[in-house]
Symmetry: C2
């Protein structure tokens, strides 16, 4: 008999079908046992005798055959997509026996401490609410690609292994590369920029690595970066416009495909009005000072409190959960940043802030070869460390810009998760690669 | 004036338009100069006076304004998509000046030695024929995803940093991970398998790393792996069927979107008949022996010559450029391989061979927890090194299998490239990360 997926059972009343999945929960009521069977499409209530149920328990893999029956009106479960039907079981085949669970997986919310959640990642990802996170994430990433493909961007695969640390930073992982030393990429910036000289418009979904020696709720050592870069721009505002288009496209796809998942988290997509407001860093700091009396007007960036405050302002004044902050200090940005000709102290760089935190950074980049060389020197970047990048500009690259969005951060802030570790399947941080490094020290270094 | 893309000019005869791009080539004919301008859509011939042309040369970035005119019948260039038109130039704006080129980029074929091609990667990727490679590659990768999304597979992001070397092998890159040692992933196998316990069907486009201490035409240290894994399979043949579906889907997409690119390489997609033939390793070796007298019947694998011979056989006997080889020796495969119950010496593992080389490997995997533990022990794999993987199977995973296709290899063998380095933008090998490591030794290790 061919497998019937669980969501298909609602249209099979009166038919004998075979379903395959996991025992999600079991309830014993004397001479009747109820098990909810779970597959990738949903849950189905199966009614069976204690004999047939045997010692089945949660997470056993089973093939179950039986008749699909309409539930009596008053037993309809409106919370379940298959709540109008149940299966009267005729045969159960045990395919893989599960060990006793370390905690209850049958609750609507998995109320676990974060280390427990992550130590049991293989198991906890079976919970519908955890699965929802990664369905939303897959939609976000796919929407990013679709948005840019529609604008004629070419997808490329950014390298992970890089020959040098071009943008400075102690926070880089070293790789023993035969008799050489290499590094894990902190950003595909130089690659995507040089590729504008070849393909005009490129994007990549790639890994970036930061050896951040601290444990926070917003940082991981390995994250998914959604990168785009394009040439022949008329103005730095064109970069924002493209980013806004991409973000709106992603929200539309999530709204379209993830209503059920959003509902599970009581999440609503960030509010957007006609256009995402853009405000210069110094103006943002002034606004924060006026609204709160807190003076960060001389700082090079917004601090977390400032980011939250400017988002409040944006929502109140512009009806927008997202806001662009532009014109950061040129000297605090990488060597390729494009200074505003009106006041070169500040640059055409722009961050996207949403719901109180940074979602992305981007801006216009230098494309004049001599100016790039000069800046590299001034910034202390060695020409031999950025040879392939310089080569592109030596042979002519048009005005360009781009941006990078963090896939985990977007997932986190769309769903309202508290810790970025929740929005990655296998979070890596200073203390964890799958399992805790402290616990498994010998296994890891041995 | 808004930019007109070059392919759009064919429908703009009589109009004054602005095009933006690079000077591809320049031909001086006394009082008339011809330049071909290139943008991401194609080439356009621009006719201009020596005064307007100034000292423009190849790769200068220019904005050119002029009238689009029909070419006289006898001057139509059938090789060019815009061969029916040209621009009579009125204004040229130089946006970025290019250095003198180290070689001629205007020829139909870039006849460069491989090191020269790669040393100048930023520049050589501007050549239409090199660009074609990466357009085909982007289509292959996108088609892989689309094929699996259509079958309800969830996309996941496989980690690059791994806590241990689970499958053995000296050919692994070490990462200094704070005070620990970590490794670059050789395969997402354990992650995709464990995720079958959560999502049933998963795929990923991910980087894998091999510290191969040799320089060959088929190996790189960082490659793009197209991975799929799924559960509730009825038989090991189902894995092949899914792979065949994916490969056919990819070929169809390439045929549909890359006719121009295939033509540039005189390439035809691999021939497929109704079904890709499947042959056991021992039978393949027997066939090779019968056809050539070369006896490799006791070997654990096909050697390169054997792979070529079995592909010849497949084409002759089955009209298929692709052939599956199954039933490799269990003991020569990783610990999770599924032994054929009829003869456990051989396993339900299957390689896809195409045009004389391996394109992928896959097969059914063990899903029984006790058997996995036993095998891990027998294979010398430490349980603590595969903790997250074991966890999944401890709690019940259905029968499963999967496969991995190499994106660069597919690109290479579809287009008939000679060296795998040609089918990756930024090839990394023992002697190169962007630039030669021998040359730049001090910069790299400094």
């Amino acid at each position: 008999m061919t497998r019937t997926l669980i969501t298909e059972t609602i249209s099979k009343i009166g038919e004998i079908v075979l379903i395959k999945g996991w025992v999600n929960t079991r309830r014993d009521h004397g001479k009747i046992v109820f098990i909810d069977v779970r597959d990738r499409t949903g849950l189905l209530q199966v009614v069976l005798s204690p004999e047939l149920a045997g010692n089945l328990h949660s997470e056993d893999v089973v093939y179950v055959t039986g008749e699909i029956q309409a539930r009596p009106e008053k037993l309809i479960n409106p919370k379940l997509a298959t709540g109008t039907v149940e299966m009267s079981c005729e045969k159960v085949e045990l395919i893989a026996k599960a060990a006793e669970l370390p905690f209850d997986m049958g609750k609507e919310n998995l109320d676990l401490e974060l280390p427990t959640l992550l130590d049991h990642r293989s198991l906890t990802m079976r919970h519908p609410k955890i699965q929802a996170i990664f369905k939303v994430q897959a939609v976000i990433i796919d929407a990013f690609r679709k948005a840019l493909q529609a604008k004629d961007f070419l997808e490329f695969q950014a390298p992970c292994i890089t020959p040098a640390v071009a943008e400075g930073g102690a926070e880089v992982f070293k790789v023993k590369y035969f008799e050489h030393e290499a590094y894990l990429s902190q950003s595909p910036q130089l690659y995507k920029s040089l590729l504008v000289g070849d393909f005009e418009r490129v994007f990549s979904v790639n890994k970036v690595f930061r050896a951040e020696p601290s444990v926070t709720t917003r940082h991981l050592t390995e994250v998914v970066s959604l990168d785009a870069e394009f040439g022949f721009i008329e103005s730095w505002e064109e970069v924002q416009d493209m980013e806004e288009y991409v973000v709106r496209f992603i929200f539309a796809e999530v709204a379209n495909k993830c209503q059920r998942e959003l509902k599970m988290f009581n999440a609503t997509l960030p509010k957007l009005s006609d256009k995402i407001p853009v405000i210069k860093l110094r103006d943002a700091q002034e606004i924060i000072f006026k609204r709160t009396g807190r003076d960060i007007r001389q700082e090079k960036d917004l601090d977390p409190e400032g980011e939250r405050e400017i988002c409040k302002w944006s929502l109140e004044q512009h009806d927008s959960d997202l806001v662009f902050i532009s014109h950061f200090l040129t000297k605090k940005k990488p060597f390729y940043v494009f200074p505003d000709p009106a006041d070169p102290t500040y640059a055409y760089s722009v961050d996207l802030i949403g719901r109180g935190v940074e979602w992305s950074s981007g801006g216009q980049r230098l494309n004049n070869y001599e100016q790039i060389l000069e800046n590299a020197k001034e910034w202390g970047v060695k020409a031999e460390d950025i040879e392939m990048y310089l080569q592109s500009f030596r042979y002519g690259v048009p005005p360009l810009g781009g941006f990078a969005l963090g896939a985990e951060r977007m997932t986190m802030h769309i769903l309202g998760l508290k810790n970025i570790r929740e929005s990655t399947m296998f979070p890596r941080d200073m203390e964890r690669i799958d399992v805790s490094l402290r616990k498994n020290n010998t296994a890891i270094t041995g």
